[in-house]
């Protein structure tokens, strides 16, 4: 598929918008449908799309394996870290009310970081699974 002109042009046009849409879904999740799970999947799909059109090696150059594996763990750590931050500020684990002077603001801040954590983990896992399957296929051809 790497030499298909139509796919390359359409892919280059669409991928920025897919990533932008993922961010919109992420940060607009408080007001409309969306959130970390959906946004993580969409942004992973953008990179999978890129890998399908331009080849796995190029995708691996922009999203190296090491980064993807770090994303896997850091998302959960961010989520758990929000809980620990609540503990340190004198609340219960995953208690967002203490994260800011204003309780409602604290809630918003907590939800924001929790969703960021979910996004990073989901995106990392999706990419990792795709990389694993795709690189196996390459071995079979060689």
């Amino acid at each position: 598929m790497e030499n298909d002109l139509v796919l390359r042009v359409v892919g280059k046009l669409l991928i920025p918008f897919i990533l932008l849409f993922a961010l919109y879904v992420q940060f607009h999740g408080d007001f409309g449908p969306g959130g970390g799970f959906q946004a993580g999947t969409i942004s992973a799909a953008a990179i999978v799309f890129y890998a399908l059109i331009f080849g796995l090696d190029k995708a691996r150059r922009i999203m190296p394996d090491r980064l993807v594996e770090a994303m896997l763990a850091s998302g959960v750590l961010i989520y758990a870290g929000v809980g620990v931050a609540g503990l340190l500020l004198g609340g219960n684990y995953l208690d967002y009310f203490v994260l800011d002077k204003d309780a409602v603001h604290g809630q918003h801040r907590g939800i924001f970081w929790v969703e960021v954590g979910v996004h990073i983990t989901v995106c990392g896992v999706m990419l990792k699974i795709f990389y694993m399957f795709a690189s196996r296929g390459q071995d079979g051809e060689e």
Partner: protein, 169 residues
């Protein structure tokens, strides 16, 4: 959807099966939109129709694209799934009517969720990330574990490790 399922059961070409299940996911997403569950519909469209189709195609790349002939007849599995379906339908008959305001689920904690002390306009997000923060932390950990399991199973071993594995056999 019924047509898609019947075609799924009939066809033996796995490529067609993957594409059909993607189409089924999209139909499911439209059904969820009709039920006003937009968040779930979005997830279904992105995960069910998008990513899992790609992953299944990747898996298909690794194996044959024709389904093998079943060894035994279909009667026992058919009986089992019919029995399960009958049980589920029997259970569903006991549920309160669709959109009944007096159903127990609308009387218990939901009024508090909808009162929204969190002040986030999308109630789904509020419930997911705040009221049920522990659940979501667990879910994220499950996703992380899935990724870690994939790494443990499929990571390419270094030549030295491979040699040891062969020696072990």
């Amino acid at each position: 959807m019924v047509l898609a399922v019947l075609a799924l059961a009939r066809t033996r070409n796995l490529f067609a099966v993957v594409v059909l299940s993607g189409a089924y996911s999209f139909l499911m997403a439209t059904l969820l939109v009709a039920l006003d569950a937009v968040d779930v519909a979005m997830t279904e469209a992105a995960v069910g129709a998008g990513v899992s189709t790609v992953l299944l195609l990747g898996a298909l790349h690794l194996c044959k694209s024709q389904e093998a002939k079943p060894v035994r007849g279909p009667w026992l599995p058919l009986l089992l799934s019919l029995a399960t379906a009958a049980l589920l339908i029997y259970g569903a008959l006991g549920l309160p009517d669709f959109a009944d305001p007096n159903a127990p689920i609308h009387q218990h904690v939901v009024p508090r969720y909808l009162q929204n002390e969190v002040d986030v306009p999308n109630v789904v997000t509020a419930v997911l990330a705040s009221f049920r923060g522990y659940d979501t932390l667990g879910e994220t950990t499950v996703v992380f574990t899935a990724g870690a399991g994939i790494i443990a199973l499929l990571r390419r071993r270094k030549p030295k490790g491979e040699k040891e594995a062969h020696d072990g056999k």
